[in-house]
Amino acid sequence: MGLIECKEVCKSFGEKVALDHVSIDIPEGKIFGLLGPNGAGKTTLIRIINRITIPNSGEVLFKGAPITQRDVEKIGYMPEERGLYRKMKVGDQAMYLAQLKGMASRDARTALKEWFIRFGIQDWWDKKVEELSKGMAQKLQFITTVVHKPSLLILDEPFSGFDPVNADLIRKEILRLRDEGATIVLSTHNMESVEELCDEIALINKARLVITGGVEDIRREYGNNNVELVYTDADGRHTEVLPREVDGNSTLESYIAKGVTINSYKELMPRMNDIFIKLVTGEDAK
């Protein structure tokens, strides 16, 4: 049983169908990638989980029970279109958003001060948001999303707008929060970070769920079941792609018997990027 279960969720806006019987299961304590091309219905699904939008049919369960407005306090959501009050002071802004998530004023202040120190931005408290650079505002946005210790964190393109150093900082924070028990939904077009961070994914295309499951399983499923062997002999270095056998040892033994040096032997898995393109366009990437 997942932390969040979407069952047969349908949503349409007038004639346009945004979600067509989508069922996904977001396991607790994992990082879950929500993938799909622009306009596929990801944002609508996220908004339905957040109870911003009510589905036409189907339901969303939170810990096994239909999600309520109170559960929303346990969710932290960072939308793709970041937004803060430009004229408000950084501290007031963060306090306001934390209180709306149900934090008491004193707890919010303590927690925020900790986060500000962790991100090295304690001097910003009295600055106005409009004085911040884009990257700085992103940091603030991230803090306001996580300050109330949500058990579900929904991050839409969390790395956009960050320089590599700060993107890495955010990546580490995401992993740390996961290790502390939070469930994280990551919606991104960056397939490298999907491979690196996500345990499970769901791919949505044209309002429908195309595939969902563990990242490793999916990559294996879409692979050709090949292995890559790199060895060195008298002629130099060679790379060979071989069909994987049940018993990989015998393959290796036969090569070793030829007197070559084995450099590496690994399962060949397709990139998530290629799987994405294949599933969305129906064609192979190459």
């Binding site: 911003i52 407005q69 939308p79 279109e81 937004g83 009050y85 306001y96």
Partner: protein
């Protein structure tokens, strides 16, 4: 709805607006402006009366001149015997502001055919004044022509000085001094204030909604609170700003006017023309015209007391309470509609077209309210004070003249019901609108969102 969340939203909205420089400036500036204007009018009044106009009179009829007594505003110079046309040509050089030319008596018609010439217009009051005196001269001439014995004595006996005091009698039989002038001013001021407040704070709600949508903070907010909580928190927060501002205006205006009039009091009482004083208190100066000038001075205290009586007789507490109730619901009605419109656009420039259905009834109400003091019980004022989109403004403008309790109650019930209906509709539109980006919305879209499940 979660009251705790609404409380947090109200608090932010309120503090955010109240801490703004523009709030501080308008809060301080308006009372200064009002006080300045009031004091300015007083000063102008004091100074204008010193400017006496000099009128040359060529009286060939021989009956008018005795009636032209000099007053503080008009000085008559008898130029009888001079050629009227040459005086007319040289008025400015001779130091005259006007020439009253009265040709010989029309014996047959027992009348005169006077002409008044001036290089600059003399103003209604002055010509009216002169005309009254000419009438008096001719009337006396005609009476004299009947050759009645002992006429002087009769005329002395006949001369009367009746002072009419108007009272309105309420159903309970209680008598109140009434004076249309005082009520007109109060009616106009209340109408203007409520129009200003509904428009100003209604559009403040709209721009607050637009700000949240434009900065995209709205999506974060509605992931924490319901959109209806957000909308009503905003509307209530700004209502509190309005009430704060209103109270501060009353207090500050009172303090400034009080201080200023304290300083000016002596000057006012020693110099002011009673007519002007009375006018400043809202008493119609025409009433004073019938009174002889010499008697006027003696009667001043009485008139002032009467004027003050009138001001006191107005049920200020009752008007204030009804004003606040109508303002509150009028504001709520318009603010919720303004919020719906704000939710449909991404920047302030796009609101103009959508706003028209709101600004038209507001303007209409304003215009009707300004005329309400002329005919507070006319059918247009009556219906406009029941129609919910105009009633807050028109009813308040009618209020000082006395409105039957059932009309107020009916109007209020209609207003509240309309508010509930509009708030419900606005909440639905708002909910969809705030997350709509990239498309210019029309009323048709709003209607579609309203019907959306």
């Amino acid at each position: 709805m979660n009251l705790h969340n609404i409380g947090i939203i109200i608090r932010r909205e309120y503090l955010n607006k109240v801490k703004k420089k523009s709030f501080l400036i308008t809060t301080l500036l308006v009372p200064i402006l009002v006080a300045g204007l009031t004091i300015g009018i007083m000063v102008v009044m004091l100074n204008t009366k010193e400017k006496t106009k000099t009128i040359a009179v060529v009286d060939d009829s021989g009956i008018v001149m005795p009636y032209l007594e000099n007053t503080e505003t008009i000085k008559y110079v008898d130029c009888t015997g001079q050629v009227a046309d040459s005086v007319k040509l040289h008025m400015p050089d001779l130091g005259y502001d006007g020439l009253l030319n009265i040709p010989g008596l029309d014996v047959e018609g027992k009348t005169i055919h006077p002409d008044l010439y001036s290089p600059k217009p003399l103003g209604m009051d002055m010509t009216q004044n002169i005309s009254n005196r000419l009438d008096k001269a001719v009337e006396d001439y005609r009476i004299a022509s009947y050759d009645i014995e002992g006429l002087d004595k009769i005329m002395k006996d006949v001369k009367s000085d009746v002072k009419l005091r108007a009272y309105t009698v309420s159903e309970s039989g209680e008598e109140k001094v009434s004076e249309a002038g005082v009520y007109s001013i109060i009616s106009m001021v209340l109408g203007i204030i409520i129009f200003m407040f509904v428009t100003m704070f209604g559009s403040m709600v709209m721009s607050a909604v637009i700000e949240e949508k434009q900065s995209r903070v709205v999506e974060v907010l509605v992931s924490s609170v319901k959109s209806t909580e957000l909308m009503f928190g905003k509307i209530i927060g700004i209502a509190l700003v309005a009430i704060t501002q209103f109270l501060l205006w009353i207090i500050l205006s009172g303090v400034i006017i009080g201080a200023a009039s304290g300083i000016m009091k002596d000057k006012l009482l020693s110099q002011a023309d009673p007519a002007e004083l009375a006018q400043s208190l809202g008493v119609n100066p025409d009433q004073l015209d019938t009174v002889d000038l010499t008697q006027l001075a003696a009667g001043t205290d009485n008139d002032m007391a009467a004027a003050l009586d009138m001001v006191r007789s107005i049920p200020i507490a009752k008007i204030l309470i009804i004003f606040l109730v109508f303002f509150l619901f009028g504001y709520l009605l318009y603010a919720s509609l303004f919020a719906a419109i704000g939710s449909a656009v991404e920047n302030a420039e796009d609101t103009q077209q959508l706003q028209i259905p709101l600004t038209v009834p507001l303007m209409l109400a304003y215009i009707i309210a300004l005329y309400a003091f002329k005919a507070p019980d006319s059918s247009i004022a009556f219906w406009a004070s029941l129609f919910p989109f105009t009633s807050p403004i028109v009813m308040i403008a009618r209020l000082p003249f006395g409105v039957p309790g059932w009309e107020i109650a009916l109007s209020l019930v209609l207003l509240i019901l309309t508010f509930i209906l509009c708030a419900w509709a606005s909440a639905k539109i708002y909910k969809v609108g705030i997350l709509m980006f990239g498309k210019k919305s029309t009323w048709k879209d709003l209607w579609k969102w309203l019907k959306q499940k």
